[in-house]
Subunit: 356 residues, 4 copies
Amino acid sequence: MIITINSQASSQDRAQLMSLLNRLADSMLPAVCTSMGSREVLVIENKAIDPEAQQILLQHPAVEKLTPVKTPYQLVSRTFQQETSSITIGNSRSSTPVTVGGTTSVPVIMAGPCSVENREQILRIAREVKEAGGQVLRGGAFKPRTSPYQFQGLGVEGLRLLAEAREETGLPVITEVMDIAMLDTVAEYTDVLQIGARNMQNYALLQAVGRHSKKLPVLLKRGLSATIEEWLLAAEYIVASGNPNVMLCERGIRSYDTQTRNVLDLTCVPLLQELTHLPVIIDPSHATGKRELVPAMSRASIAAGAHGLIIETHYDPAKAISDARQTISTEQLRQISREARELAHILRGDAVLDVA
Amino acid sequence: MIITINSQASSQDRAQLMSLLNRLADSMLPAVCTSMGSREVLVIENKAIDPEAQQILLQHPAVEKLTPVKTPYQLVSRTFQQETSSITIGNSRSSTPVTVGGTTSVPVIMAGPCSVENREQILRIAREVKEAGGQVLRGGAFKPRTSPYQFQGLGVEGLRLLAEAREETGLPVITEVMDIAMLDTVAEYTDVLQIGARNMQNYALLQAVGRHSKKLPVLLKRGLSATIEEWLLAAEYIVASGNPNVMLCERGIRSYDTQTRNVLDLTCVPLLQELTHLPVIIDPSHATGKRELVPAMSRASIAAGAHGLIIETHYDPAKAISDARQTISTEQLRQISREARELAHILRGDAVLDVA
Amino acid sequence: MIITINSQASSQDRAQLMSLLNRLADSMLPAVCTSMGSREVLVIENKAIDPEAQQILLQHPAVEKLTPVKTPYQLVSRTFQQETSSITIGNSRSSTPVTVGGTTSVPVIMAGPCSVENREQILRIAREVKEAGGQVLRGGAFKPRTSPYQFQGLGVEGLRLLAEAREETGLPVITEVMDIAMLDTVAEYTDVLQIGARNMQNYALLQAVGRHSKKLPVLLKRGLSATIEEWLLAAEYIVASGNPNVMLCERGIRSYDTQTRNVLDLTCVPLLQELTHLPVIIDPSHATGKRELVPAMSRASIAAGAHGLIIETHYDPAKAISDARQTISTEQLRQISREARELAHILRGDAVLDVA
Amino acid sequence: MIITINSQASSQDRAQLMSLLNRLADSMLPAVCTSMGSREVLVIENKAIDPEAQQILLQHPAVEKLTPVKTPYQLVSRTFQQETSSITIGNSRSSTPVTVGGTTSVPVIMAGPCSVENREQILRIAREVKEAGGQVLRGGAFKPRTSPYQFQGLGVEGLRLLAEAREETGLPVITEVMDIAMLDTVAEYTDVLQIGARNMQNYALLQAVGRHSKKLPVLLKRGLSATIEEWLLAAEYIVASGNPNVMLCERGIRSYDTQTRNVLDLTCVPLLQELTHLPVIIDPSHATGKRELVPAMSRASIAAGAHGLIIETHYDPAKAISDARQTISTEQLRQISREARELAHILRGDAVLDVA
C-alpha cells in the first residue's frame, strides 16, 4: 500500500497521519517514507491496513492518494507508476546527457573495457567507443574478483582516469561501487553507480546508494541466481531509500551448461515491462562469455524491447587483462550500435521498411 | 573421424576397407555406416585411428575423404558440413512445400493448437493459421502428459483430422511421435516428426526415426536440462541412423524462477550456428508459458538468427483444453508472422531501411 | 479420487458403475482401472466428481471405498496406502529372495559393474559382491550412451551372462530396459527392471513395463531435472498400468557445479517418505561421479532413511570400460555394506549403543 | 604458491625478499602477506613464479618453506595444511568454550530462533537449547530480508539480549554481521560472526571481517548458487586478510523444485574434507525449509562427516515471527542432539555397537 502525501500537508498533518497509521495498523508496522519525484510517499505492507482503515486514511488531510499494490515490491511496480521511468545520465557534468527509458526509442549503448588498465588504454577506448556510436563509457576501477590473488582494479586512480576520459570525449561514465566506504569517492567521479551481481542483496550497500545525496542513476545487475521478484525487491530497497533512478541489468543467470558463461534470460525484458516501470539494460558480454555471440544477442536484446546494452569493448580484445574472451572490438561495436538503432526504429514504428 | 566412401567403390572394396579398419583400430570399434545425401560415410571415434593409420586409409580405393572432427558429435558438426542444411517440409503430399534453413532468408512459421481437439477446431485453426501467414500446421494427436489422468490426445483420430486440415489448406503438418510402435502410423499422416523434450534421450526412438524409410524431416526438441552437446549427440543418433533431415528446437530449459514456465536459452541460436549445420527453430510458447511474452520473444528469436518459430495458436486461446495460458490468438500470429519476415529481411540484408 | 471395487461385485455391477461414472462426471473422463494387490481400483481426477456425486457412488454395490487424494499422483501416495510397500526381489528364480521396504530394517545393497564386459568379469564381480555383503547384482547389458559412438553394451549376451552369474551366486539381478521392443527379452533374464533417468518420462515404456505380465519389480530412476512430483507421476504411470512393485531411485540431479557429476538430493528421502509408500534407493555412484565420495554418501543415505543403495563396483575399478571414475572396489563395498547395516540397526532402534 | 617466512628473518631480510620477488615475478604481482597461526606467509598466484625462480627464493634467508598449491584457493587448501582446523568458540567470555573441528569427534550443535524477538523469548529459548544439548546459541539481530517492508531485526537491542542469554546460560553466541559499519558493534557482543549467503561474495565485508582485531571465529554460509571453488575463494579472502578461524556452512543451493526451500548439497561434506582443512557445518533448516525434514537431514549430515549443525529452534515454532515453517521445537532438538552425538561416536570409532 502506497500513501501519497498531500504536498500542502503541514508538518502537524503529517505527524497526525503517522499516529493515525500506528493506531490503524499492526504494531510492528515497518513503514518507509521516501520521495518519488516531487511527491512524498509512505509505503507499508499491503496486509497491514484493512479496507475500513483505508476509508479513514483517505479522509485524512495529509493523504492525497492510496495505491494498493499486490506485489511485494511496490514503488518499482507498474501498478504504482504507469509510464516507464526516464533516467538522465550525465546531467551535471562535462558530458552529453543521455536519456534512458521514458518515451525515447533510441537504445542506450554503454561500452568500454572490463578494467581501466592505464591512461592510454582508457582514453583510446573512450575515443573509439564514442566514434563507434557508444554514449556511455564503462570501465572497472574497483573489481570484484572471485580470487583475492587476481587483479583488483586500479582503484581511485582508475576513477580519475575515467573522469579524464569523460573530459576528453564528453561521454558520461559508469563504474562499479562495491563498498559503502568508497561510495562518496566513487560518486564524486562517476555518472552512474553500478551495483554488481554479487552485491545485489547487499542490503546495506543498496540502502546507502539509495540515501546518497547525489541521487546518481544506478545500474542494478541481477544476482547470479536471483528470481525476478528478488531482483525487483533489491531495486525497491534503493528506491525506498530515496533514489528512484534505477536501471535493471540482466547479465545472465547461472546454469548447468559450460558452453556459455551464463544463460541470458532475455524473456525478463517483456516480463519486467509488465511488472515494473524501471528501464532494462542487457549485458551480453557477461551473459554469454564469448565475444562471437555478442552481436546476435545484442540484436535479440533490442528486438525483445531492451532499453539499452552494456558491452565490454577494447581496441584489442585479446590484450584485455580481464574478461578478454568476452570482449569485442570497437569495430564490432560500431556495427552493433548501428543495428541496435535501426532495429529500435523499426520495432517502435518510427521507420518504414522498404522491402526489396 | 568421418570416412567418406568413394561412390565408385565396389562391394569388395568396402569389405576390404572394413577389415582394414578392424586391423588399424581398436578391437571394440563402434563404427557407424550411414548415408549423407548422395554419399555413404563411416563414422568412428576420433581417438580410434592414429595419424599413421589415417595415411594408410587415405590410400585405400574405397576411401574418398577423411574428415577429422574434434567434437563428440560428428555428422551434425559444421566441421563436416559447412553449409546450413536445407530441409524441405511437405515434399510429396497435398501440401505446399516449405524450405527451412539453407540459403533462404524467410523464417518458417509453424503454428496451431497444443492438442487436436475435434474436427471443427483443427479445420478452423488451420484456415486461420494459413491466412495469418503460418506455413506449417502443428497439433498434438499423441500427447505426453505428466499425469496419466490428464487428456492424452485423440490418437489416430487426431492424425486423421490433421491430414484433413492439410487437404483443405495445403499446409504441411507437424505432430509428435512418442513411441516406436506408433511410428509407422504417425509417419503415414504427418510431414514432420516431432520428438518431444521428454524423449530427447530416448535412443531407441531416435534410432527408429533415423532408420524409418520415409526420411521425414524431424524436429528434435531440447531436453528439459540438456546441454548443447547432449542435444547435438541426440541429433547425431538420428543422422547416424540414416536421416539427415533434422531441425533443432529450443523450447526453454528448466530453471529456478516460477515467473516463466522455463528459461528460453536464446543464446543457443548463434552458438548452434557455430557448431552445427542443422537449422534451429524456437518455441516461445513452451519456453515462456505466458502468451503475453510470445510476441517479444518471437522477435528476439528471429533477431538472434533462428530459422523459424513454432507457436501454440488457437482462435480462442482461453478455450484450449491444454496449454491455454501460453496459447496466442490467430490475430496475434498474423502480427508475429509479419514482424518475423520483416526482421529477417533487414537482418539478412535483403531490405533497405528508410529511417523517418 | 480412488474407487476401490467391491471384490464381490458382478461384471454387471461393474458395467453399471462405469456408466454411472460417465453420467456423474465430466464427459472426457480419463479413468484408469487397475489392480492393487488383491483389489481392483478405479482412479479418476479429483475434480471430476463433486461431493454429491460421491454420495451416490458410495451407495453403489460395486463400490467398496472412496479415497480422495489431493495430489496429482494417487495410487503411489501415502494417503492411499499408509504402510511402506514391501517388494520382493528374485522371488521365482534360482536366487535368494530379497525384501525391500515394508517393515524390514535391513537396507538392500545392489552392486556390480556399470557394464557387463565379459563372462570372467561379471562372474568374478558377482562372487565378490556376494562375499562383500551385496544382495542384488547390477550390470548393464543395454547401455543408454550419450554418444552413438560409445560402447552400447553387450546386449542379449550381457543378459545371458547376468543370468549365469545369478545361477552361480544366487544373487538376483537388476538391469536396464531401454526399449519396449526388448522388454520381453530383458524380463526373461532379469529380476528387477531398471528404468534409466533419460527414460523417466518415456510414457510408452512406463506403461509397457506396468502392463508386462511378469510384474517384475521396477527401479525407476529420477530424471536429470525431474521434480519430486514429476517423478511420482512417472511411478504412477507404471502402477496405474498394473504393476505396483515400484522402487524409486535418486541418482543426483543436474546442477551448475562441475566438482561432482550431479547433486545428490538426499532430502528427497524423508520427503518421499511423507508423500509415498514406495521404497527409496540411493545411487551414490552416479550422484557424485567420484568413487572417493561414495562411502560418506552411502552412510548419509542410510542415515536419511533410504531403503537401500545401488553402487557401481568392480574388482579393479580403474579398468572398468565405463564409469570407471565413480566405481568402487569390492573391498570398499564390504565396508559400506557393514556400515549401512549397522547404521540401519541403530537408527531403527534394533541395537543398543555402548558408548566407550 | 605460499612462502612461509622464516620467523628469525629480520625486517631487512623481509624487505629484500619483497624486492627479490618483484624482480623474479610478474610486474603486477598481487601478493598477499598474512599470518597463519604463529607463522607469517606470503601468497602469490602459482603461475607467477617459475621453477628457476623458486630455487632462488628457497635460498633466501627470509624464506622457510615454499608450498606450491595447484588450486586457486591456497591458504584454505589441504595441500597447505594437512590437519583439520580446530576452532574454539567462546574463548574469552562468560561462556563455556566449544571446539569445532580438529581431532574432536563431538559435533557442535548451534541452535536458537531465526530472529531475537524479545527478552523473554531469547532467554527461554537459550535455557531450553542448553538443556536439550545445544552448545552455541544462534539468533538474528540484524536480518537480511528480501523485502524492505519485512521485519529487519531488533538490531543492537537484539545483540544485548543475546549477550544476556549468554550470561545466564554460558552458551556462546553466533549472530550475523551484514555490514562493515556494524562490525565493531556486532563483534563486541558475539562469539561467532556469521556471514550470510547473500554476502558470500561481498568482498569488502569478507576483508573487514578478516582484518578485525578480535579474530572471532567466522561462519561463512555458502551463496545461493555458489560453486565449491567460489565458496573456498570467499573463505580465502577472510583467511588472507588475517583471520584463519573460518567454518564453512552449507545451507542449501538454489534449485528448480519448490517442494523444498533449497537443495541440501550434502556431498559437499566429503568433498570439502578432501579440498580444505576448514570445518564444515550444516544448516538443515534453511536447506530444507520444512521442519519435518530437519531430523533426517541432521542425521544424514553427521553420517556424511559434518563437524556440526546449526538449527532454527523455538519453544513454540509456529509462533516464530520469521522462518516458522522450518523451525523445530526444543523437544525435537534434544532428540537430534542425542542422535548426532551417538552417530558421531559410532562413525568415528569411539563406540562399539552391540547389535541385538
